[in-house]
Symmetry: C2
Subunit: 202 residues, 2 copies
Amino acid sequence: MEKKPKIDQTSTTLLLEYFSKMMPLTDEEKELVASKFQPRLYRKRQFILQEGDVCNVFNFVVSGCLRMYNIDESGTTHIIQFAIENWWISDKGSFYSQKPSALNIEAVEDTTVLQIKHDDLLDLYVKAPKFDRIFRVLVENSLIKMQERLLQNMGSDARIRYEEFLKQYPTLANRIPNTHIASFLGITPEFLSKIRNERVSK
Amino acid sequence: MEKKPKIDQTSTTLLLEYFSKMMPLTDEEKELVASKFQPRLYRKRQFILQEGDVCNVFNFVVSGCLRMYNIDESGTTHIIQFAIENWWISDKGSFYSQKPSALNIEAVEDTTVLQIKHDDLLDLYVKAPKFDRIFRVLVENSLIKMQERLLQNMGSDARIRYEEFLKQYPTLANRIPNTHIASFLGITPEFLSKIRNERVSK
DNA sequence: CGAAAATTTGACATGACTCAACTGGAGTGG
DNA sequence: CCACTCCAGTTGAGTCATGTCAAATTTTCG
C-alpha cells in the first residue's frame, strides 16, 4: 500500500516571497495568489503533461525537479528545460493556444508544484495587471537563457557544453541520471560516458 | 557623394496597426507611442548594435531585414534571429541589464526601423501598463519560437533543417546570401552548398 | 534479493567540418 | 565602360566529432 503523500500547505509562502522580490504585492494581491495557486505533489516518473494533451496549468516548482522534453521522429528524447526549486515550467505554446502539446513534463524526483489554471491566470492578469509585468519579466529572463543555450549548442563541442552544464547547474548533476544530462546537452548517453571518462583520468 | 536616405515619417502607422491588432489603444496611448518611437534608416552592412556596446533600443522593423548574431571563440558566426517587416529585434539581456552585449545586429538590406530607447520603454510601461501585457505576449511568442528552433537544431539533421527553413521563411531565402542561412542553421556554407546541390539533382 | 534502469566499453559507421583551389557575379574606381 | 577586386558559391580530398549497435557491468530500489 502506498503512502499518501503529504503536501505542505504553506508552500504558497515561497511563491509569495518570490513575487514580492520582483515587485511588492498588496494584501489583496497576495490573497488572490493564494486562492488561485494549488499545491500538488508528483511522484518520480509521474507526468505533469503528456504529449497530445493540452497544457492547462502553469507550474511553479516548490521542491524537487521536473524535466520538459520532446521525442523526435527517430525516437530520441530532447530535454528543453529542467525546473528545480523556484523555477517555472509549462508548455507556453500549448497553454496560450489551448492546443495539444508535443511536449512532456515529467517528475525526475518527487516534486511539489504550485499550479494555476489557464482561466485563473487570465483572470489574475485582469484583476491585477501587475502580474502582466511580473510575467513579462519572467518570460524575458527565460528567453535570454534560451538564447544563451542555443548559442552554446551551436558554438561549442560536447565536452565544453558538459563543462558549462556542470558550472551552471552544480547541484543538479548529482541529483539526476546522466542520461538526462546527455539528452539536455544534445548527445547520446554513450558519448557522455566517454567524455566523463576522459575527465576522470586527467 | 552619398544620397541622403529618406525616412518615411508615416512608418509609425504600421506600428500602431500592429499594436492595435493585439489590443485596442486609446488615442492617448497612440500619441504616446508616436512620441516615443523614432524612425531610423540603416544601410546594408550597417550595425544597429555592436559587440561590446550596450543595447540601448528596442527595434521594430518597418521594412528591410536585420540579422542578430554572435561570433564564438573559434571565429564562427552564429545567427540567432533574422528580423523582417513587423518583427522585433534587440538583445534583451543587454537591454534590461544595461551591460555590454556579446551580440551584433546588422542590416542585411537597407532597413527602416522604429526605435524606442530604454528609458522611454520603461516610462511607457509605467504610463500605459497595457504595454506590459502587449510585450508579455510578444516575448512569450518569441520564447515559443526559440524553443521550436532549439528542438529543430537538436533533433534533425542539416538537410531537414534546411527544408524547414525554406518552409518557414519562404521569402527570405531569395533575399539573403546562403552564407547567412548556413550560419542560422548552424552549418558551414560549404556543407549547405552540398545539400542544395543534392536537392537540385533530385 | 531480483528486476529494471543506468552506465560503460568497443568496433564500426557517418554527418559535418577543414582547407584549399576554382568560378562567377557584383560593385567600384579610373 | 573596362579592369580589378571582393564576395558568394562550388567542388573535392581528407579528417574528426559524434552516433549506432550490441554486449557486459553496475547501480538503484521496490
